[in-house]
């Protein structure tokens, strides 16, 4: 309990009590942001409804419970010295943070430039590949990559950054004790073994819907640059970008096909004046000025048999049959192909063909 003062602990308790009202309020995001900025008493008045008076009494009589933080977890509030500086002066910022991975490490991560890469869960292959490539390039260039944790773009971001042996920061919507969604737990373990996971609520017994936009605003405030890879044109999918714009963060988007629903949000951001990002280099130029920082690709030194097979695949020998035509043993070729596939250098295309990934052959 040492990291959280009684005042912030009480705020966190109050938010839990008001979850239904907040979830309702989150249907209108501008109102939701203004709600989150309200002090405790006014917030209770605004959304307490019939329970308002009762809550005021309970609030006055509130005593800190001797809750035990889970193992490997730390909790800090905005009055703690380790609280992220980028959040400290914002009324909108969360009052408390649960951290998995240690506050020291969190401090280290936030000392670097933070880039949030966000996007929809219903991502296309194009979005997934782009997100992975951006995260890999930025992580290799020494930037801290942050995202949420969900299927689609966020998963691709973490996978990409981890491929470059980078450290990532994930902002969770509902507590850091358990991984939600549960199927991400292997990825979650890898993220928290080198990076950090943070969340606003501590041990919420259930995930409230307002956790989703609340997570987006935390991400936006933490980052110097928010890149939206793919998003539908809906307020919740663009929440992170809108908060970042309102609080003078760089906002960038990846251009997409005009006909694709998951590119409508990003394309409309670009119309509205967001910067365009096509590669990690574009993002670095935005952050540091053109030509000052050069993007690094993680070293892709391949062992000789792998490199040879990769080049053959690139030259159009895209099936097992073509690769073994010259007399190579099919067992050896299969081994090399699996290795390349696991390293994300080739993928399986239509009809089981092998297709080199973007950038795989450049290195």
């Amino acid at each position: 309990m040492s990291g959280v003062c009684a005042q912030c602990e009480r705020r966190s308790w109050l938010l839990e009590q008001l979850s239904v009202g907040l979830a309702f309020g989150a249907r209108d995001l501008p109102r939701f942001w203004s709600l989150l900025e309200l002090p405790d008493a006014e917030l209770t008045d605004a959304i307490g409804g019939r329970r308002g008076a009762e809550l005021h009494v309970a609030y006055a009589q509130w005593e800190p419970a001797s809750a035990q933080a889970g193992e490997g977890l730390e909790r800090i509030c905005r009055h703690h010295r380790a609280y992220p500086a980028s959040l400290r002066n914002h009324a909108l910022a969360p009052h408390t943070l649960s951290v998995r991975g240690g506050v020291e490490r969190l401090g280290g991560l936030l000392a670097e430039t933070v880039v949030a890469i966000v996007g929809t869960r219903r991502a296309s292959d194009y979005g997934m590949e782009t997100a992975r490539g951006l995260a890999r390039g930025l992580a290799a260039s020494g930037v801290t990559v942050a995202s949420g944790l969900a299927e689609g773009i966020p998963t691709a971001v973490h996978v990409g950054a981890l491929e470059a042996h980078g450290t990532t920061l994930t902002v969770m919507a509902a507590g850091v004790e358990r991984c939600s969604p549960a199927w991400c737990s292997a990825l979650y373990r890898r993220i928290t073994s080198s990076g950090c996971a943070i969340s606003e609520t501590s041990s919420s017994p259930r995930a409230w819907r307002w956790g989703e936009p609340a997570r987006a605003r935390t991400l936006a405030l933490l980052a110097q640059l928010v890149i939206v890879v793919e998003a539908e044109e809906r307020p919740w999918e663009l929440a992170c970008a809108h908060v970042a714009q309102a609080h003078e963060r760089h906002v960038a988007a990846v251009p997409g096909r005009v006909s694709s629903p998951v590119s409508r949000g990003t394309n409309s951001l670009l119309m509205g004046g967001a910067q365009m990002v096509r590669s990690p280099q574009d993002a670095l130029d935005l952050l540091y000025g053109i030509g000052t920082h050069e993007a690094h690709e993680p070293s892709t030194e391949l062992e000789q048999p792998l490199q040879a097979i990769l080049e053959q695949v690139g030259a159009g020998m895209d099936t097992m049959g073509k690769l073994t035509e010259s007399g190579s043993r099919s067992g050896d070729v299969a081994l090399a192909l699996v290795e390349l596939e696991l390293r994300g250098l080739i993928v399986r295309g239509d009809g089981g063909r092998y297709v080199p990934c973007a950038g795989a052959l450049a290195g």
């Binding site: 299927e151 073509k322 073994t324 239509d350």
Partner: protein, 509 residues
């Protein structure tokens, strides 16, 4: 006077005993058949009448009632004619009654008294044996089928008069000779793998599929030989065991598809057109209608152009693929049929067929999405491996021949023996039937294999179920290469054959 004759009716794939009771008493001449008989049985009245008279016997001009007992079992088919006719003759005192009770009679009569064969002879022969009757008396056409039942006395009768002779203690007619010489090897008459030019990887994948009895998906552009390859699958599968052959013959006998009575050695190969309905595939359109999955029992069900099949039809394949049987329940009948088959499906990589071939593919994103939706889902979950066919094969038309079916079949049989020896205590025969528990026990990976498996899970390339499939296929590849341990390269080969790879679509990461 009353006489009782013994016969059988077909219920599902089995025969059920029916007693024909014939009673003749004074009254106005009449001939009634009672006891839940279908149209073919009711028409027996006219056939029996003519056959008895044309064989030189007397048809009593009195009140005749034939009752088929038990009365609540529906009777189908014309196989009751012989029993009814003999019952009439016995009841009218033209033949002795005593032998009638120990002989089963089965066959249709022609108007001139000739005995014709009926569907389901094999099932009837098995039931006769089980019921402990002394002899099965039947027409010559399918008599050889009945001789497959060991220890059963088969009395062949060409005419009604011969049946009268047998029932009076005389000798039956001689068993007809087989119409064609028995085939020693199934491969002789079938298309041979040796006809295939090039495509070494596809042939290898087919070999793996045959060795482990893995359900497979053939993918490739039009004209690359998907159908050709699939048709050669039975020629590399091990020949039917005797017990399997009897099961297959019983099914084909009941449905009237069996010609000749020799023990089958080739596995059935069923290739229904994609316009097939669910009832056509599974069965149950009407009583006794057997679906394609049942006809493919112990053989191969080949679904060409998989994406063109109606979705509900494909969904209906789940139970047979899972349990190896279909339970058909309709308002008036229900039956369980065996349906353990190897599924071979073929599809183009996209609706136009040219996906991945430079600029030739003309499919829109929507077409591709529809194609994937059709293919993915629960059916693909049951498919263990993907056989990819290539356009490049065209250069090979003058090229070297693939190995012959006989050679590949030897490899397959050897691999199956290894599997059977390992899996005997589990009560299964082939790798394709291994469940998660058996996989843990029988698939021992080396270090490299373990690493590949862990990494593929982390990158989201394989689901838990996908892993099981890859392990099953890897086990078969190791069996083909005579290795007790599943090595890194075996798993890598299995991994490159995984069916998910055939459908580009969304990937988890």
């Amino acid at each position: 006077m009353l006489a009782r004759a013994r016969t059988f009716t077909i219920e599902g794939l089995h025969a059920r005993a029916v007693t024909v009771e014939v009673d003749i008493r004074p009254g106005l001449p009449a001939f009634a058949i009672v006891g839940l008989a279908d149209a073919a049985v009711r028409e027996a009245r006219d056939r029996v009448h003519a056959a008895v008279l044309n064989s030189g016997y007397e048809f009593p001009a009195r009140r005749i009632t034939a009752n088929l007992a038990p009365a609540d079992v529906p009777k189908v088919g014309p196989g009751f004619d012989l029993a009814i006719a003999c019952g009439v003759l016995a009841a009218s005192g033209q033949i002795p009654v005593d032998l009638l009770d120990t002989h089963a009679l089965f066959g249709e009569l022609s108007l001139d008294g000739e005995v014709r064969a009926s569907h389901g002879t094999l099932a009837v022969a098995e039931a006769t044996m089980k019921a402990g009757l002394r002899m099965l008396v039947l027409g010559p056409a399918r008599a050889r089928e009945a001789t497959l039942v060991e220890g059963l006395a088969v009395g062949v009768v060409e005419r009604l008069s011969s049946a009268v002779r047998v029932l009076s203690g005389g000798a039956p007619d001689p068993l007809p000779q087989p119409s064609r010489p028995p085939l020693r090897s199934a491969a002789r008459r079938q298309p041979d793998l040796g006809d295939v030019r090039g495509q070494p990887e596809a042939v290898r994948a087919l070999t793996i599929a045959a060795a482990g009895a893995h359900n497979s998906l053939l993918s490739g552009p039009p004209g690359t030989g998907k159908t050709m390859l699939a048709q050669r699958l039975p020629s590399i599968l091990p020949p039917l065991e005797r017990s399997e052959a009897i099961e297959v013959m019983r099914i084909h006998s009941v449905t009237g598809r069996l010609t000749g009575g020799e023990l089958l050695s080739e596995r059935p190969f069923r290739a229904p057109h994609h316009s097939i309905t669910t009832a056509g595939l599974i069965g149950g359109a009407r009583r006794g209608w057997v679906g394609e999955v049942v006809l493919a029992h112990n053989g191969v069900l080949f679904l060409d152009e998989l994406s063109e099949f109606a979705r509900p039809t494909l969904e209906a394949l789940r139970q047979p693929l899972e349990d190896g049987r279909v339970a058909i329940v309709r308002a008036r009948h229900s039956a369980v049929y065996p349906a353990r088959f190897m599924l071979m499906a073929a599809t183009n990589p996209c609706p136009c067929g040219y996906a991945g071939e430079d600029e030739r593919c003309r499919c829109s994103e929507a077409d591709l999405a529809r194609h994937r939706r059709r293919l993915s889902g629960p059916l693909l979950d049951r498919i263990d491996l993907l056989v990819t066919m290539e356009r490049a094969a065209v250069d090979h038309i003058g090229g070297e021949l693939a190995t012959s079916s006989a050679h590949v079949r030897e490899q397959v049989i050897e691999a199956r023996e290894r599997q059977a020896a390992r899996l005997r205590e589990e009560g299964i025969l082939v790798n394709a039937q291994m469940d998660a528990r058996m996989l843990r026990r029988h698939v021992k990976l080396d270090e490299g294999g373990k690493r590949v498996l862990a990494a593929s899970r982390e990158r989201g390339l394989l689901s838990a179920r996908g892993q099981h499939r890859a392990l099953r296929v890897a086990r078969t590849i190791a069996d083909l290469e005579r290795s007790e341990r599943v090595k890194h390269e075996h798993l890598a080969s299995a991994f490159s054959l995984r069916p998910e790879a055939g459908l580009s679509g969304r990937r988890a990461a």
